[in-house]
Symmetry: D2
């Protein structure tokens, strides 16, 4: 199976971070989700941390609205905030509720350092740079989950208790979000100069994407270490 | 008719800016909307500027999401961004389209200085201060329009061609937004210390509300001057 | 006399805003500084406003430190903050003290809207864009004052009581600052892609420079209107 | 020996984080600096990371200038940026140069996650909150180094090769900076409401201070792990 197509810019950045991208999308945590060997405790640790992650990730996408320079950019980013706050977070709330963890507990959970490091890195990309600097830092999370979901759904998921997680990210709605964000990034790149290779600016964007990917690896590892 | 009740914090701030609040909510532009004497050209100038205003106002409410410290604050602010981008701006687009002005023209319109001054003042309140500093600067616009709409709708609007404008802000949806924002501000004040009077912090918040109200006066005047 | 050379990027931006640049650098307020016909009251109004301007301008240069991506950018911007807070503001304090206006009065003065509009526009350029977006918005103030000072000092200043103002901006220290900032901007442009013409990104930067220049015209006019 | 007095607010925050504060100020890395048992390789790892830390720490103090609401706050924060960029970083450059590591290498060094986590946490405190939120997050670094330096200098440093490091933070200049920052924080607290105990606002500030202290523990550990 080839990876889903989320646009030309994402393809360049993904190719420029081949090694960490593989570590991220094929992490032992991910494999355990797919074959069902991931311990329940590790999944719950992850789920609580991921809820806190989504709070700050929604703050980051809101900062992207602040940094938008076109109506198109505003709408895609505001729509993503809505998807995060009103849909993706609801999945966590529902799953955690079934385990006896309520939303106030989720919101007040202590952030692991590996969690905090990633979201604050993204927020600072927005404070320091422009809209594209944010997109380069946000893309690994959005598209990585899309790619992982699609790959796992394509395999044998008969034995995994994590099918709902897989379906969420493999589903049409989330895959559509990945393609929309990817297409918007391509327009944003075109508008701001176009080339994503062979310039210091291109190198700086690649560095943000690559570092964000490495921080995602740390996030899975934190979940696995429980 | 008494003014609508948008919460205790707003009432304190409104009372502390009595003179500019009256100039803002009873400006000649407003009176002209109510009795229909406002020249069409002035209304269109205003409408185009107000569209650009809403772009930056939506950026400001998105910054408020970034600055939120509770899920409640995040949800109200994200909901306001959605209301601005997907509903209030649509009114402008529709009204302007009827006059032969398309949305690309609106988005690209040159901002009047009186327009720019207000939105950038609000955005800087967010950069310099905390969530409450933003609320104090955002409230005059949100609640002032609610109060103006309610008052005008309560009068004789038989002769005005601006009934749709009045209904938009007097309507249940917009009035509900004002009450929701006001109640959320009351909770945000309680959470951060409580007193809005008799301290340097209270004075600083009042100063932001008052200045924002004065900048709203300038906005109406800009519309009237065409 | 030809204008001083403050670097290639500034020359492009200045050329792209020829009309507003002329209005700014040859404003009646400026001419009155040079020939001494500017009323003292107008000068004092300007001086008090300019003090408040410098407070927010120092905040803006500090935001440029936050947005810096090289040590060179950090050092030039941090040095400019120091020059503003510890030198340029001291000139205002000293001159105003001689007129019986103390520094607390200056710091607490009510900002004119024309004043507020410019500094908050610059700060928002930093929030929305990257380091170059800030530089395009900051350059008109820094370099415009250098160009005005140099031109006026080159003329007949025998009769003007504003010789100290002229000398401050025509002097070696301030002219050196303009050249240093200009050279740093050239390096920042080269690092981020290079071309300042013929792309949407170049147009966006030019638009920031041009608008900032127009806001400077409004600042002089505010001073003149007293 | 009692800890140096850096003001009343700091004393409250330090007392509210007693356990992590002890882990931070008495970390094995610190003890190794004092008795000379710290391996040279660990010290160099730390020094390179600390240089990158100071780059982002200077960005954070610059953001504090942006967030200042009084001239006093602006001056102390701008002075700290100057101290960081022009003095403290010079110590690192000089020490590293003696080991054959030049400044470009330092600036381009890959940030450890533990390093990145702390500075981006501080920057986000500024983006999300107000001036005090930043101070609560910045204080552990500034004052902790002052306290460590003073304690180690008070002991037997005859055998440690790290005497220059100890003297730098125990010296009059750095101790004066700690007292100046502490006194300014006390004024900033008084100005914004005064109480640092028994309110949700007070809890939020304490939480930022405590978390920042824990992130400092992680920084020493990263150095030790090399």
């Amino acid at each position: 199976m080839t990876a889903p197509d989320y646009g030309a810019s994402f393809a360049v950045w993904r190719g420029g971070a081949a090694e960490p991208w593989r570590h991220y999308t094929h992490h032992a945590f991910v494999q355990g989700l797919g074959d069902g060997t991931l311990p329940r405790a590790a999944f719950l640790t992850y789920l609580v941390q991921d809820y806190v992650f989504l709070v700050h990730f929604a703050r980051a996408w809101s900062l992207a609205v602040v940094k938008s320079e076109t109506l198109d950019e505003m709408r895609v980013c505001a729509g993503t905030v809505d998807a995060l706050v009103n849909h993706e977070m609801a999945l966590h709330v529902k799953t955690c509720a079934a385990e006896g963890i309520d939303e106030a507990t989720l919101f007040g959970a202590t952030e692991a350092t590996a969690n905090l490091a990633y979201t604050r890195f993204v927020l600072d990309a927005g404070l320091q740079g422009d809209f594209l600097d944010m997109m380069a830092a946000l893309a690994p999370c959005v598209m990585g989950y899309g790619e992982i979901g699609a790959r796992l759904a394509n395999g044998d998921t008969a034995d995994t208790p994590y099918a709902l997680w897989i379906e969420t990210y493999a589903g049409a709605e989330y895959q559509g979000l990945c393609r929309d964000v990817g297409a918007m990034i391509d327009r944003a790149v075109a508008r701001r100069g176009g080339s994503l290779q062979g310039s210091p600016r291109a190198d700086a964007l690649q560095a943000r994407f690559t570092r964000a990917t490495e921080l995602e690896v740390g996030f899975w590892q934190m979940g696995l270490d429980g």
